[in-house]
């Protein structure tokens, strides 16, 4: 089994690409829940949903988030009522949140609800939220402390971050199956997700980082930074603001204690010697998955 430590969009694309080379039933994604939020009384899990929608073939490619064929009836009415509309929730997407929230109220865990939704959508990969307990990524910024979505969506990740906080990190426990999957995986892949805000919360869950350190030789990470820039989101800016090098080398340095192999983009081939100096193997390929051939090639490197 291949285990993929996953944020949202980048992880979803990698998981989809893995279908070119591995049976979906042999893939387990351990998914970040630090971005999860409560809004309008609903429990919303953006990373789990992005992966679910992508693997179900229902993701909105043009928008880059949410569902294809989405409509906005509820949101339009909510806006007319004066409700909070900064976090856009489409009508189809809302059904997922209503379903999840009711099941959680019934006493089901986030793990159980995730399994129900993926089964219903015919997804054969296993999706595991990293924890069923409270774990919330927060930001100490120049304008005060912000929740993840306040920083990311409401402020368009356009404010200086001084520190990233992980609320609940000391008390949460790994969800059932998470540590066992990491221990027994043939390979552990860190998806090309934001190291500081998508991967870091996974590492905060007691046990996860320790297993990665132990199994470093089996851990492979795909750099989300290409030629110094994040393909999506604020990873490059955050790396700089928090004192890291905004490059595949900076990512490698951040991962060095628990990653044995880095996959970097052709554009960053010149960084390979410096990354090897961290006692890491380096593979160079096209990491941008926009085209089918690239995605397939990257997937082959990941499982090679």
């Amino acid at each position: 089994v291949i285990v993929v430590l996953s944020g949202g969009v980048g992880a979803a694309r990698l998981l989809r690409a893995l279908r070119y080379v591995v049976a979906p039933s042999d893939v387990t994604a351990i998914v970040n829940v630090g971005d999860d939020l409560e809004l309008h009384g609903l429990t919303i899990c953006p990373d789990l949903d992005t992966i679910t929608y992508t693997l179900a073939g229902l993701n909105n490619e043009e928008l880059g988030w949410g569902l294809t064929g989405e409509t906005w009836r509820v949101m339009d009415e909510l806006t007319a009522l004066g409700g909070a509309s900064w976090f856009r929730l489409g009508d189809k997407d809302l059904a997922t949140h209503l379903f999840r929230t009711q099941r959680l109220r019934d006493g089901a865990t986030k793990s159980a609800v995730t399994a129900e939704i993926t089964a219903r959508l015919g997804i054969l990969e296993t999706l595991l939220p990293v924890t069923n307990d409270h774990l919330a990524t927060r930001f100490r910024t120049e304008i005060g402390e912000l929740s993840f979505q306040e920083y990311f969506v409401q402020h368009h990740h356009d404010t200086v971050v001084e520190e990233i906080l992980f609320e609940g990190a000391s008390t949460c426990q790994a969800a059932p199956g998470v540590l066992a999957a990491l221990r027994s995986a043939e390979r552990i892949v860190i998806a090309p997700s934001n190291p500081l805000i998508s991967v870091a919360p996974l590492l905060q869950v007691p046990g996860v980082r320790e297993i990665l350190v132990e199994r470093r030789a089996h851990v492979i990470a795909v750099s989300p930074i290409v030629a110094g820039n994040a393909l999506k989101g604020p990873a490059d800016r955050l790396l700089r603001e928090l004192g890291y090098d905004s490059s595949a080398l900076g990512v490698a340095a951040y991962y060095a204690n628990f990653v044995g192999t880095m996959i970097i983009d052709d554009a960053d081939a010149a960084l390979a010697p410096e990354i090897r100096a961290h006692d890491m193997d380096v593979r160079v390929t096209t990491t941008v998955m926009a085209e089918r051939d690239n995605a397939s090639r990257l997937a082959k490197e990941v499982v090679a």
Copy 2:
């Protein structure tokens, strides 16, 4: 000011009819919350919403509930996911519940949220939920104890009721303005709502019944039973099952301690003498508000 003790549809129609004869700003509705429910994490207030939608001219006349021009995108998706779909929530209607739930989570009271929604929709009547505390109508039935909506919607009020329970009745307090409105009203009107499940919860709130008893001469009730039948819902059947006469006379007997005047339908004129024996005045008119002339005539009797 005219105060109307209100359930859902019958009260909404009476409130709308009152606009023929009274300025809307001189009307206060004290509204039942015993039917309110939590579903999918949302707080839903069917009686408040029915009145709100009707007074805003947005109610769905054909369906008899919900909003005009409603769509069902979220519900269709939720059903596809295997979610609970027995309580139908339209897309526009959902916006109300999302708005209310977020405001309640923000710490606003149900009273405050109701005022916000009615202001936004341009409603000039004052709508007061009878209490901001927990008050839930429940049913002990032949098939076990049921919540209001389980009885009403899921089981189509088609099971034998042995007892009606009011959870929270002993601990809830009247919402701000409720008791003062009842004390100072020129007239208190009991809408043609179900006596046992729409009006009874209002009477359970400490202070309400006592004021009605004191002010009995100013309290007027419109019978929701015409020729032995409820115009809508299970009022007739429930009256029988719980040992009351299923007639305007049965309603009068139930109300006799705190209602000075009964308005009954022409069809029930023969019952007037027996109702008068309860020391009540009786007015006879057409209580069915299907036509504009009837609604206007009923409203005139109510304020006469």
